[in-house]
């Protein structure tokens, strides 16, 4: 109990560190991200030229490249990289419900029984 004074001093020192610092992304970072996005667009078009060689993998490859582009936009342009954890969770929730929507749509299509009209 005699150590109360030292404790409160320590607390004050901890509380002085600010939690609302302004994050300014350098211009070069934005330019590099945009450069990567252009390069990936070129890659998408290039992959399209070889779509016959890729066969059924052509579409997943195209969407994989798109996902990398999406990650770049989300992390740097939308500042998710330097954002609070809570905002990332909120963002993730959106994708969770999108995945849920896709999952149920896919289930519907996969479990359909082919029926021919009698009319």
């Amino acid at each position: 109990m005699g150590h109360d004074k030292t404790h409160s001093t320590a607390n004050i020192n901890v509380n002085t560190t600010s939690h609302s610092e302004l994050h300014v992304t350098p211009i070069m970072t934005y330019v590099k991200v945009a450069g990567a996005l252009y390069a990936l667009t070129v890659l998408t078009v290039l992959a399209y030229q070889f779509r016959h060689a890729f066969g059924p993998l052509a579409a997943p490859i195209a969407f994989l490249i798109a996902s990398v582009k999406a990650a770049l936009v989300l992390l740097w342009f939308m500042h998710l990289k330097e954002d609070k954890m809570m905002n990332r969770v909120i963002f993730g929730t959106g994708f969770f419900f999108l995945a849920l929507l896709f999952a149920f749509s896919a289930l519907d299509i996969w479990t359909r029984i082919a029926e021919h009209s009698t009319l």
Partner: protein
């Protein structure tokens, strides 16, 4: 080569860059550069919509319309389901286009407020919010491009 001509989505990528730069310039108190970046973003959005207009006109001209409106005389026997594809095509690109127009309006709004000196390093939340909206519109196009123009 028809694909590179269709890859005009790079216009939106560039507009995302100028949008991000607009916020950067507000953070470092460079008001004029910020307004210029935001104006450039609106111009690039407009370029995207003009290309969209020519693309739609071309499709209308060929009779490539959704569902029962599809002109069968332009379609070979293997493509009889093209009406379904164009239903998706016009709904998805149309809804995206409406969001581009909305975004352009919002950017004009924050640009005017920036010109009035409402924003600086201490407060730029509306610009950040509009920026996030603009980036998500760009993000949707990143997926619509392979979906409708390459895979579809």
């Amino acid at each position: 080569m028809i694909v590179p001509k269709r890859a005009y989505g790079v216009v939106l990528v560039t507009s995302s860059l100028t949008m991000a730069l607009g916020i950067h310039f507000l953070q470092v108190r460079k008001k004029n550069q910020a307004i210029l970046s935001l104006a450039l973003t609106v111009v690039l959005g407009l370029v995207f919509m003009v290309v969209k207009y020519f693309e739609y006109s071309h499709k209308f001209h060929l009779g490539f319309l959704p569902g029962k409106f599809l002109d069968p005389s332009h379609v070979q026997a293997v493509h009889q389901n093209l009406g379904l594809y164009f239903g998706f095509y016009f709904c998805m690109t149309g809804l995206h286009g409406i969001h581009v127009l909305l975004g352009m309006g919002l950017i004009i709004w924050v640009a005017i407020r920036a010109a009035k000196g409402h924003f600086g390093p201490e407060f730029y939340t509306p610009v950040e919010g509009v920026g996030i909206f603009w980036h998500i519109v760009d993000l949707i196009w990143i997926f619509l491009f392979p979906l409708l123009y390459l895979v579809g």
